[in-house]
């Protein structure tokens, strides 16, 4: 059995998977809105740290895996904020500057502070979302959307797409292996050709699979509505109190 190390697989292993997904979503969304809405450094730092602690200590995700996941947005943030930090001027300016032919690249005081605040805010928001997705399987998030009256068509499509991502990935992996074993990837040109061939084949396979799936669903009395039994995860008083306490703490932090 092949284990795919994805956010999805971490969610299934999380120790806080059993907590009501609605509650987790409320906490994550509220924390996220707080960070973005207030822009307060203290709030950002405390959300970032507390969400990390929840994910790692309560959820049981290894620190290294968590940091590896955080690396992805950090890369984007550094590239994105570079433009804010660095200014261009015709005259020497700022605390530190580099002379270029015809202009100066400089670092401004305000820019650096702004960039730091921005990075903190974004990382806090990301950690709040990570807390949710690293502890809640996709199917539960989709169910939640259904309860929020997202149109059935969309939530059903999401359910099917989620399942098919893995089915298609499996097919693609096998086709790629088969191509590799026949030297399909030994240089750039053959790689391009193999990649194109696999893409075209995947499309045909998808069409065929769609037909077979439809037959299999019809065989089980499918009548146009995807129905599954949903696991009930009642909100425990203790958990609700902890969530309320946490949000109150963030509010206080901002007010003071």
């Amino acid at each position: 059995m092949r284990t795919i190390n994805t956010i999805d697989s971490y969610a299934y292993e999380s120790r806080i998977k059993g907590i009501n997904p609605g509650l987790k979503a409320i906490v994550a969304m509220a924390a996220l809105l707080f960070c973005i809405g207030t822009g307060d450094v203290l709030v950002s730092v405390s959300v970032f740290l507390s969400m990390g602690i929840i994910t790692i200590f309560m959820g049981g995700l290894s620190v290294w895996k968590y940091l590896a996941l955080l690396k992805i947005p950090v890369t984007f943030l550094i590239l994105g904020t570079a433009a804010i930090v660095v200014g261009i001027s015709h005259v020497p300016a700022g605390r530190f500057y580099i002379t270029m032919p015809g202009f100066y690249l400089y670092l401004s005081d305000g820019g650096a502070a702004l960039a730091a605040r921005l990075i903190l805010k974004a990382m806090a928001a990301v950690s709040a979302m990570y807390m949710l997705v690293l502890s809640t399987p996709a199917s539960e998030i989709i169910n939640l959307l259904g309860k929020l009256h997202v149109p059935k068509l969309i939530s059903e499509l999401m359910n099917l797409i989620y399942r098919f991502i893995f089915v298609m990935m499996d097919v693609q992996i096998h086709m790629k292996q088969a191509a590799e074993s026949r030297l399909g990837y030994h240089n750039f040109l053959t790689s391009c050709r193999s990649f194109g061939g696999i893409g075209a084949n995947l499309f045909m396979v998808s069409l065929k699979k769609a037909g077979v799936y439809y037959d299999a669903m019809t065989a089980r009395c499918y009548e146009g509505e995807l129905l599954f039994l949903e696991e009930e995860r009642p909100v425990k008083t203790k958990e609700a109190a902890a969530a309320a306490g946490y949000l109150a703490f963030l509010l206080l932090l901002w007010l003071l």
Partner: protein, 280 residues
């Protein structure tokens, strides 16, 4: 005593729109509690016939009866409820993102009460030994586990007749053994089973009756030993004689067993036969 006829196909013909007939004049009746092996080479029409028997495909001509009642357009769901199909490739059947949600799909479609669905899902999961995996997503399961999920899918719907499309094709010997036990249990529960397979050894060991497809029609139908001893049928159906039958022939030829000895279906029966012959 003959049991009542559950499922009956009369002169079925079906074509996939491309002109060539996938099924041609197929007639078959299935009695309650029967264990039928459906044999035939690839493309002989077994799967198409199954989809017709379950009401997914509508025959061009011919009729299907369930318990004597002719199935019209309005009765298709009744047919689908009573006749379940376990598809060959579990990955083509599993649609939900957790095992328990997957097994609940059929019963939910039957519009049963929540309690009833829950109870059936639990029963099906237990009987396929899947309780440990019930919250897992299907894409993290092994091939054998997926197969078990696809069988639990159908068990939860509690059909009278269960059709297996080549269940042994993708299973290792241990999983085939488990499957055989499951099949025996289903027979004890009074279910009627149809299994298509290329594995004549499995068919010989398990089935009472064999139906042979070739070129979109049924060329032979009868007790499994009769079918598998006929060289003509085997040749027409692109089949091979089961190994145990070859052994039987050799033993009779070498006069180790007398002619007209009963056929043995597994090594245990062979040992009993030999013991009786040489000790008694």
């Amino acid at each position: 005593m003959m049991e009542e006829i559950l499922l009956q196909a009369e002169n079925l013909s079906y074509s996939y729109g491309t002109g060539s007939k996938a099924l041609h004049d197929v007639s078959l009746s299935v009695r309650k509690g029967e264990k039928i092996a459906v044999l035939g080479s690839n493309g002989a029409g077994k799967s198409t016939c199954f989809l017709n028997l379950n009401g997914v495909l509508i025959p061009d001509t011919g009729t299907i009866r369930y318990k004597g009642k002719k199935i019209g357009k309005k009765d298709l769901n009744e047919l689908r409820r009573e006749v379940g199909i376990v598809f060959q490739d579990a990955d083509n059947q599993i649609i939900a993102s957790t095992v328990s949600a997957e097994v609940s799909f059929g019963p939910m479609n039957l519009r049963l009460s929540r309690e009833e669905v829950k109870q059936r899902v639990e029963m099906a999961l237990k009987s396929m030994n899947l309780m440990m995996l019930k919250d897992r997503p299907p894409h993290y399961l092994s091939g054998g586990e997926k197969k078990r999920v696809s069988i639990a899918d159908i068990i939860a719907m509690e059909p009278e007749v269960i059709i297996f499309d080549e269940p042994t094709a993708s299973l290792d010997p241990v999983n085939v053994e488990i499957l055989t036990q499951v099949l025996d249990e289903m027979t004890k529960m009074g279910k009627t089973l149809l299994i298509s397979t290329h594995d004549v050894d499995f068919a010989y060991k398990w089935a009472d009756r064999a139906v042979v497809f070739a070129g979109g029609t049924i060329i032979a139908d009868g007790p499994v030993t009769e079918i598998l001893t006929s060289d003509l049928i085997l040749a027409q159906g692109n089949l091979k004689k089961p190994v145990l039958m070859e052994v039987y022939d050799s033993l009779v030829k070498c006069r180790i067993l007398p002619e007209m000895s009963p056929y043995f279906r597994d090594t245990q029966e062979l040992n009993q036969l030999l013991n009786r012959q040489y000790e008694g």
